[in-house]
Amino acid sequence: MASPQSLFEKIWAAHEVVGETPTTPGVLYIDLHLTHEVTSPQAFAMLRERGLKVRRPDLTLATIDHSTPTLPARDGRRPYVTEQARTQVATLRENCRDFGITLHDWDSAYRGIVHVIGPELGATSPGKTIVCGDSHTSTHGAFGALAFGIGATEVGHVLATQCVLQRKPKSMRITIDGELGAGVTAKDLILHIIGTIGVSGGTGHVIEYAGSTIESLDMEQRMTVCNMSIEAGARAGMIAPDQKTFDYLRGRPLSPEGEAFDAAVERWRELRSDEGASFDREVRINAADIAPTITYGTHPGMVVPITESIPAPADASEEKALEYMGLDAGQSMIGTKVNVVFVGSCTNSRISDLRAAAEQLRGRKVHPDVTMLVVPGSEQVYRAAEEEGLHQVFIDAGAQWRLPGCSMCLSMNGDIVPEGALAISTSNRNFEGRQGPGSRTLLASPAAAAAAAVAGCVADPRVNTSEAA
């Protein structure tokens, strides 16, 4: 009998075109290559220089998200932050046209953040290898795909050959069992995991998330978890597909139809780690130990339960982080004044995230000292939110309802947190200046971010909800 295999090993083995040797890496076939305006221009330029074609334009999908303005066009002109940003988008448009790649441009009902639209389109599915010149490609692992970020040079490799050169990473399984407490979200879970294993705890590994807690999560929550695998240093994060996965994918524009879909589901059911599969590292986490969680430093591993105070710095780097944040050890997180609230990014910009934020804001007002941006992850989310009237909740509360894109997650489109301001953000990185030069960031769930918008300071989202009830 064949030895038991993990989900990761099954997918890896099914895509190995040429196995690795001590002197050469393995050649891994890629089923879906997602691309956007920021990490692709240099790769397309390389193709042109060397006279190469895109090998499989049919397996390549492009969108515009990072440099795109979230304010509407004025007099038919999109308000790009710089002409260079406009050119970057135009360059992708040109490249997609010349190389025959489908681009979800401004006129597409499916434009949006690359990691939000892949699943929405049904392009993301179990068992696929998926890459993108973007580290949060791990998001797609929520569907039982092996999905990881690559650099611009590798984007060129995939365009030219539909393959990447890889050494097989190590594997880690994180098993989370038990029920999450009331008001504890998938974002709190992943922040807690990063705090537990550390920001380089996953380096060199592909993480499989398993256990009853993971099984209880819906697909959007699973995406939030897999999304931040990179914040723990991991190459990829993945979750075995189950009925929820299949139900999510049924009827999506690029999903197989009818009998072909049922046949696909039969194959997808095989995609789980066999009993007795071995992992290079195993971590166990008890769901009951997890509280609503927030970061207080300048990397995503510096986390505390939102109701607790900031711990003493462990070393000089943490000391420097606290100094940058303008926060003191011993200070309680609750009550810390915030200036900006951002609900968005590939971590938390899906419809359930917007619902959670709206629930906090319904019938309330954003604190007068706070600027709040709500940026849906895609045109689909944007429309769904408007159909449900969520946008009106945000607007009535005094928040800004913007067009889909990455926006303030990395602030390269002009949506920035002002110098020195403190933001609470549903995104994934709290690095120094990530949201603009001199900006400071607290990462938290959509509910916690919206609760802070109302209070003007960090607040326990569970308290707000019960007051409203």
Binding site: V17, V18, P22, T23, T24, P25, V27, Y29, V38, T39, P41, Q42, A45, R50, R55, H66, S67, V81, T82, Q84, A85, T87, G133, D134, S135, G149, I150, G151, A152, T153, E154, G156, H157, A160, T161, Q162, C163, L165, R167, V199, S200, T203, G204, G233, R235, H299, G301, D315, A316, S317, L410, M412, E419, R429, F431, E432, G433, R434, P437, G438
Partner: protein, 190 residues
Amino acid sequence: MQKITHLAATTVVIPQDNVDTDQIIPGRFLTTTSSEGFGDALFRDWRFDENDQPRPDFVLNQPAASSAGILVGGRNFGCGSSREHAPWAIRDFGFKAVISSKLADIFSSNAQKCGLLPVVVSEELHRWLLDNPGAEVKIDVEQRHIEAGPHAETFPLDGFAQHCFLNGVDALGFLLEQDAAINRFESQRG
């Protein structure tokens, strides 16, 4: 890609742990479509103040930096995004190698692909390098060997990456040679 067989150069030390790619090159410099000329953006917000004036106390603004060839970073250097602009900026500033006790995965892979040598050393040597900024370091790529002060050790370097550095070739050539195998793979899957 430029060939690197041996390297003898002095270091610049940026000792903080977990230096992320947003520090190495902030997001706002990513709207370009070029892959060159990122040297000015390297550590932009650590090097320059709000008025774009150099901060004299930051190491990259000190005279020794311009002649240094090796960047020594704290643990988990290069974490964060997959932007290859980060190693491009380090390379464009004039560094040939980056040393740490732990380098982030994608950063390290990107560095190899643009001709910046990633060197992971023991905690001991790392500590010594952090404590001795400006030290002279010798690296032999063929032997995967590094010497600095009283220390000498070997470092891990993927066999294929080593081949690329020693011969100044990039990986695409190798990948293009796999065409027949890729065709076979595609036709077998139908």
